[in-house]
Subunit: 348 residues, 2 copies
């Protein structure tokens, strides 16, 4: 495992609620379509193919780090990579998201999730990490999708607004749901994240992007135990664990309870309110509305300062957007935003 | 204006936080695709055409009232009806939602919203109300879309997950945004709702379905003033005003502040938490997850009882789902749910 001493420490210190010289910043989807160099490199290649080309995937992850003074890089991959790697037919449809040729509907489908063998099934991911660790001067964040969000893609077969089939399975066939959750935890997410950590990533983020679609009772009964199974299993690995979803205002305390060191929050909940719900013994990541970046710079600056004011200079804040960078975002806004956060927080 | 004395009073009493013999129930989209008789009546007709046929639209609104013991009917219409009625080319695309041939992007587009003249522009809506008032033994709820949600459809040109163009306009061209909001309030929503009230609807619901996409600062600055303009203008009309959106956990207090008598809440926020945010001097409507209705009856019953427990028997609760009925919902589940709510709350 790579040592963390040679990379800039600010992000990792903040994840552990240690004092920092300035608030660390990174952006979800900082490697992506808003960057012209990404669009040039990618051309007509689909995302999954790009993630399977270690040189290209490493280059994509490095692009934002070259342009901006971000305090962490994130592995360029997709939450469906380990699902595809165990043989499920997944495609990432442009402007739509992951779609499955045969959505999961029955107990028999659960068996399609055979145990991931990282060295054989995702060698490109491990090689991408190796290349990046040789290049980066900031920490590298690995990631995976959380069981609920992965299950939603598997069961719906395509991105869904109401997650109706997923919830119907959860309520109507609890044993199938349980089997699906166990398989996602033990066959997919845990081996995938353990392999990333063994390869040297400095932190991991567990994306439960769609958990906010659930009512808090359902989250507690049908989702929290499985997120906890993952986060608690990884606690001994010694890397910070970030747990993020959108629309999770009422779930934040449970996301912390699941075992997150840092809870990511979207823009809907003011950062101070979110931190109070998460508790002072956890870090917080967020939470500027990514759509605000489409406005003029003075709006971006004003809203970023509001986020910093709500963080109140307390150790444990990682500045980020409340969700991924929107493809039409001007790259210069993001670069200026990094500098603004550093300057305002270093001045204190 | 029709008298309210001949209809069942329970729903209107609850809207005014008066004691009731049982908690009133209605469902958003109770008239719709989940009903086989709706699908038969509609056939291949598009929704906007159906709303322009008063006999058919009235029949659709009556269908759920015949099947179930709901305590209110809702006008069968669409929030884009008054937009289309002033000449904007809107289509409701199946399984997708409203789309515009020419989305709103400039100041010139705002001028496309000429003042609605209800007797000439929406005679079918007024005739539908007239027919329904002659048939119904429960109150009739009229409705309109709120300015933000209507603006999102106009600016995006189609349903959007991130509402990015809408927010870019709001932040980048505040004067255009203001002009658009004024036109939506004064040329569209207010004349449309005033005409519905004059025609005799017993209550109105202002749907700000997508307001939950906003951060609370943006809501307060760019949206609340316009929702307030509508609700305050209607306060003197004497009918209960319900204000609803999804994902609005952090906006509930402001939705009340805008002038709602009853605030509708989705399933993401527990009803007791929501009511505390709204304040004891307002009613609350909600909030069972519509996707729970796709599960077995015992799950529906358990979750409905949790909602009732959180309402605590306080006057001012209108039972509803947290969003519209999902088309794959079994109609019998809804009918049983109405009876369950009545029985459990009458027993107290």
């Amino acid at each position: 495992m790579a040592t963390t001493t040679r990379v800039r420490e600010r992000f990792l210190l903040a994840c552990r609620r240690q004092p920092v010289d300035a608030t660390p910043v990174w952006f979800m989807r900082q490697a992506g379509r808003y960057l012209p160099e990404y669009r040039r490199l990618r051309g007509d290649t689909d995302v999954l193919s790009l993630t399977r080309d270690p040189e290209a995937a490493a280059e994509v992850a490095l692009q934002p780090v070259r342009r901006m003074d971000v305090d962490a890089a994130i592995l360029f991959s997709d939450i469906m990579v380990p699902i595809a790697a165990v043989g499920v037919d997944v495609r990432i449809v442009a402007n739509q998201g992951p779609t499955l040729a045969e959505p999961f509907r029955s107990d028999a489908d659960v068996a399609r999730l055979r145990p991931l063998e990282p060295p054989e099934d995702v060698p490109y991911t491990l090689e991408t990490i190796r290349i990046l660790l040789g290049e980066l001067a900031v920490p590298l964040i690995g990631f995976a999708g959380a069981p609920f969000t992965l299950a939603s893609y598997l069961v719906e077969g395509a991105p869904s607004r109401d997650h109706a089939r997923t919830k119907a399975l959860m309520h109507g066939r609890p044993e199938t749901w349980r089997a699906l959750m166990v398989a996602l935890c033990d066959h997919v997410v845990l081996p995938y994240l353990r392999a990333q950590i063994a390869a040297g990533v400095h932190a991991v983020q567990l994306f439960d992007s769609w958990a906010g679609a659930l009512d808090p009772d359902d989250y507690r009964e049908h989702v929290l135990p499985w997120s906890r199974r993952i986060l608690e299993s990884l606690a001994a690995e010694g890397v910070p664990l970030i747990h993020f979803g959108t629309g999770t205002g009422e779930l934040l305390a449970m996301m912390r309870e699941a075992g997150a060191d840092v809870v990511g929050v979207d823009w809907r909940t003011p950062l101070d309110v979110a931190w109070e719900r998460v508790g002072a013994d956890a870090g917080i990541q967020g939470n500027l509305d990514p759509a605000a970046l489409l406005g003029p710079w003075d709006v971006v600056a004003r809203k970023a300062e509001a986020v910093l004011m709500r963080a109140g200079g307390r150790p444990g804040h990682v500045f980020n957007l409340g969700h991924g960078v929107i493809p039409s975002t001007p790259p210069d806004h993001l670069a200026r935003l990094v500098d603004l956060v550093h300057q305002r927080t270093a001045a204190r």
